[in-house]
């Protein structure tokens, strides 16, 4: 009985603490992810107040958090949007992939961490946090802007790239031989194809199975189906995250909307637990040695995303200010970078990968939105410097 009491007290303290941190994040209109990470760092191994007895719950909760994060990511876009984007935005998407994965791959190789860690770190530097980006664009009133469709297509493409990347990463991490590796990759590719096919051609079947007038039934069916497919995918060496992601893609239309509304509170809870868990298992003592690398990667990561946004917006026929905004909007990294690092660390990649990813995300989850806020004033300044005359008349006109 005693241990139950301690566990409950610890859990309550963690969740209440997260709530208070979330309130701070809302107050300053920033992402709560870096705060959750810091909380995890503070209470984890080597932190100021290590928690021990709630570990079991937190680690299962973190798994569920990853699954729900990926599931809602899949829900975000319909299968049609994914295919449509692949048709129209593949060049920009590929440029995004190459520009942003390259620094991570290069850094891991230069540090001598080996090809597996390079693959993982490439993923960590690549993915933009679609959650933070969408929130920033909503907060700043950018949704109507001309570059917004281009920015969103980049996010959708990254989404698709994740569907291909995660199975590859998990296979490589499993470190199986060439034959076994090829086998599990083939299984993964087949699973992904089958689920995408079902989602595209027979999406109504899945929807008919899940649909229910009762919210409660819908919640249980969707959550159960997601966890079940995630577990099966894990069993097939495809990674639970990918399975959940694909279930999300298979659901679309009004049902997806309801499912997202129902599951978002659960996702928020378990995702927060996941970030704490990641922080808990990262020793703050490991951070200082990787800080310099993280800082360099962060600066490069901002530059490469600015370039991506610039390209995407230019392709959409958008002028200077919009191109800068597109780049700044893409800069934040967050949840999925941590998910990738988490997979890599549990998969036995280089131990410094975890702290490096934590530091990287800490910097960019905070700096990204700030950069976005600064984008428009910066663009005005740069434009004024380029052509002082029109800027003057503009200033005269405005009262």
């Amino acid at each position: 009985m005693h241990s139950v009491a301690v566990t409950l007290i610890e859990l309550g303290a963690i969740i209440l603490g997260l709530g208070l941190l979330g309130a701070v994040a809302v107050r300053f209109s920033i992402s709560a992810i870096p705060l959750y990470l810091v909380a995890g760092l503070a209470f984890g191994s080597g932190g100021i107040l290590p928690l021990t007895s709630s570990d079991d719950f937190v680690s299962i909760g973190a798994e569920v958090g990853v699954i729900l994060l990926l599931f809602t990511l899949g829900l975000e876009y319909t299968a049609d949007e994914l295919v449509g984007t692949l048709r129209t935005s593949a060049p920009v998407g590929l440029a995004d992939l190459v520009l942003n994965a390259a620094p991570g791959v290069a850094a891991a190789l230069l540090l001598g961490w080996g090809p597996v860690a390079a693959l993982a770190l490439g993923g960590v530097t690549y993915v933009t946090s679609s959650g933070i980006t969408a929130k920033v664009m909503g907060d700043l009133g950018w949704l109507g802007n001309r570059e917004t469709p281009a920015v969103l297509s980049v996010l959708v493409f990254e989404d698709l790239a994740m569907a291909a990347y995660l199975p590859i990463l998990t296979t490589v991490l499993a470190g199986a031989g060439l034959v076994a590796g090829a086998q599990s990759l083939a299984v993964a590719a087949l699973t992904v194809t089958v689920i995408l096919y079902v989602a595209l051609r027979h999406g109504t079947l899945v929807e008919r199975f899940v649909a229910s007038p009762s919210d409660e039934v819908l919640l249980l069916k969707v959550l159960g189906l997601t966890l079940l497919v995630a577990g099966l995918a894990q069993q097939l060496q495809v990674s639970a995250a990918v399975g959940a992601f694909l279930v999300g893609i298979a659901l679309s239309g009004p049902l997806a909307h309801t499912a997202r509304e129902m599951l978002t509170p659960l996702k928020d809870l378990f995702a927060a637990v996941f970030f704490v868990f990641f922080g808990l298992h990262t020793d703050p003592g490991d951070l200082p040695p990787v800080l310099a690398v993280a800082a360099v990667l962060a600066v490069v990561g901002v530059a490469t995303k600015l370039a991506t946004g610039w390209l995407a917006a230019r392709r959409a026929g958008v002028a200077f200010t919009g191109r800068l905004r597109a780049g700044a909007a893409l800069a934040p990294r967050g949840e999925f970078n941590i998910v990738i690092a988490g997979l890599a660390v549990t998969g036995g990649a280089h131990p410094d990968l975890g702290p490096l990813a934590a530091a990287y995300v800490l910097v960019l989850a905070i700096a990204g939105p700030l950069l976005a806020r600064a984008a428009e004033p910066l663009a005005r300044r740069l434009r004024a410097r380029r052509s002082p005359a029109p800027a003057l008349t503009e200033a005269e006109e405005t009262p």
């Binding site: 009133g141 469709p149 969103l152 297509s153």
Partner: protein, 160 residues
């Protein structure tokens, strides 16, 4: 007038048009019913200067404010333009044979030559109602046609 429509993956749809005086106005329709009204910069057509977030109720209210008066104005204009054309507002009284029946059932245009162009219900206007529109007692039907035609529609609506 061209309305440019763009899909916003994960969010919804964006509609933008340019006014005759050269200003660009857009609406971002979120999947959850939220609407953002966006007004673009005069000098930089890529950027919004103002974005107003509207809940579904607020968006409806705004649409009604913009739309209701337009229907009435358009009718008045029509009236002025064509000599001999009459606009009548005819109530569907409780006990009318068309209370609960569909607009198509009246066959008003075939029988009288007059058209039902709008229905006013609960303070809102349904412009250009379709044949499957179901009348309810308390509706006001706006009819356009000759004096004879609209009088005939009035008889149809009360007596069948």
């Amino acid at each position: 007038m061209d309305v440019e429509r763009t899909a916003l993956p994960g969010i919804g749809l964006q509609h933008v048009f340019t006014t005759r005086r050269g200003r660009q106005v857009g609406v971002v329709s979120h999947r959850n019913g939220r609407r953002d009204l966006a007004v673009y910069d005069k000098d930089d057509p890529d950027s919004c200067v103002v974005t107003v977030q509207l809940t579904p109720e607020e968006a409806n209210a705004l649409a009604e404010l913009l739309g209701t008066d337009r229907v009435v104005e358009r009718l008045a204009e029509l009236h002025r333009q064509v000599e001999g054309l009459v606009t009548e507002q005819l109530p569907i009284a409780a006990g009318s044979p068309y209370d609960g029946r569909r607009l198509g059932d009246t066959r008003a245009r075939t029988r009288t030559g007059a058209s039902i162009v709008a229905v006013v219900r609960d303070g809102g206007v349904v412009a250009s109602p379709r044949p499957d529109f179901a009348f309810a007692a308390g509706d006001t039907v706006v009819v356009v046609g000759t004096g004879e035609g609209t009088a005939a529609v009035a008889r149809i609506l009360t007596d069948g």
